[in-house]
């Protein structure tokens, strides 16, 4: 077998590279790509939520559309037996085995989806308004308070929307949809240019 050694390490390109994220409308609604992260899709029986605390530092949230965070990690409730765990990229190799160990004995499934999703922040005084161009959910602070996270739809794309502040959201979408999402949001915020 031929010995293949790269002279230089492979270049890693973000899917957001070259996309028009800067805009004159940024004062009303700014888009900013977030760094790569470790993402785990966790499914399992009710016991999973408490057992995961040993690995994450906090139990998985069990209330509808609730999130939990701590130590740079966040866990999102997506369904009655489904969670999305997000952690810094440095934990890519260690988080899944640690969680696997903590959940031993409880029926569960952990899938590493770190490279399936990309994330960007949508922030600014008109962020909710711009998202509502394609998202049919009520994003007012009373119906979607800070900390709420939900799988929903943006135009044609399924996204996970997490409200991180009164005027800021973390939007997770599939990597191949990122270009479409940025184009859609640019179109939506054009009135603020």
């Amino acid at each position: 077998m031929a010995d293949i050694a790269l002279k230089e390490p492979a270049l890693r390109r973000s899917v957001f590279d070259g996309l028009p994220l800067a805009s004159k409308a940024a004062a009303a609604c700014a888009l900013e790509p977030l760094p790569p992260a470790t993402r785990l899709a966790v499914r399992g029986r009710p016991g999973v939520a408490e057992a995961a605390a040993a690995a994450l530092g906090f139990p998985l949230p069990t209330g509808v559309c609730q999130s939990a965070e701590g130590g740079g990690r966040a866990a999102f409730w997506l369904g009655p037996d489904e969670w999305l765990v997000i952690a810094p990229e440095a934990e890519a190799a260690t988080l899944a085995p640690t969680l696997e160990q903590a959940l031993a004995g409880v029926p569960h499934a952990i899938v590493d989806v770190s490279h399936r999703n990309v994330a960007l922040t949508v922030s600014g005084p008109r962020a909710a308004y711009v998202l509502n161009h394609g998202c049919p959910r009520d994003l007012s602070l009373s119906a979607f308070p800070v900390g709420t996270v939900s799988r929903t739809i943006l135009g044609k794309v399924e996204v996970v929307l997490w409200r991180t502040g009164p005027e800021s959201f973390r939007l997770e979408c599939w990597r191949t949809f990122a270009e479409w999402v940025v184009g859609f949001l640019n179109e939506a915020r054009r009135e603020f240019e």
């Binding site: 509808v64 369904g79 009655p80 489904e82 799988r151 929903t152 739809i153």
Partner: protein, 100 residues
């Protein structure tokens, strides 16, 4: 836009849901003993009533769960929704309730 009540998440816009066919179509036991007509009827024949009908829906862009819903095929009004596995509600009683 219709607002559909997911039994788990609560009221959500219809875009988050997907239709899943008629509800309470159970697979019979010992299908190998059934004749072709019975199997074909179960697979392909649906009631298609005018009025209240029981359907499966899935909150696909939300919690991902299947649930059952009673919908009026004339007005498109969702009379009630309930979790999968729960018994079929009394449609006649719901009909009287729906006439308001």
């Amino acid at each position: 836009m219709l607002i559909i009540r997911c039994p788990i998440c609560g009221d959500r816009p219809e875009l988050e849901f997907r239709y899943g066919g008629e509800g309470h179509v159970a697979r019979p036991a010992a299908t190998e003993a059934l004749d072709d007509q019975t199997v074909a009827d179960r697979l392909y024949m649906r009631t298609n009533p005018k009025g209240l009908t029981v359907e499966r829906w899935r909150h696909v862009h939300g919690c991902g769960r299947f649930f059952n819903a009673v919908r009026d095929t004339v007005s498109d009004f969702f009379v009630t929704t309930y979790k999968a596995g729960e018994p079929r509600p009394d449609l006649d009683a719901l009909k009287k309730e729906a006439v308001r």
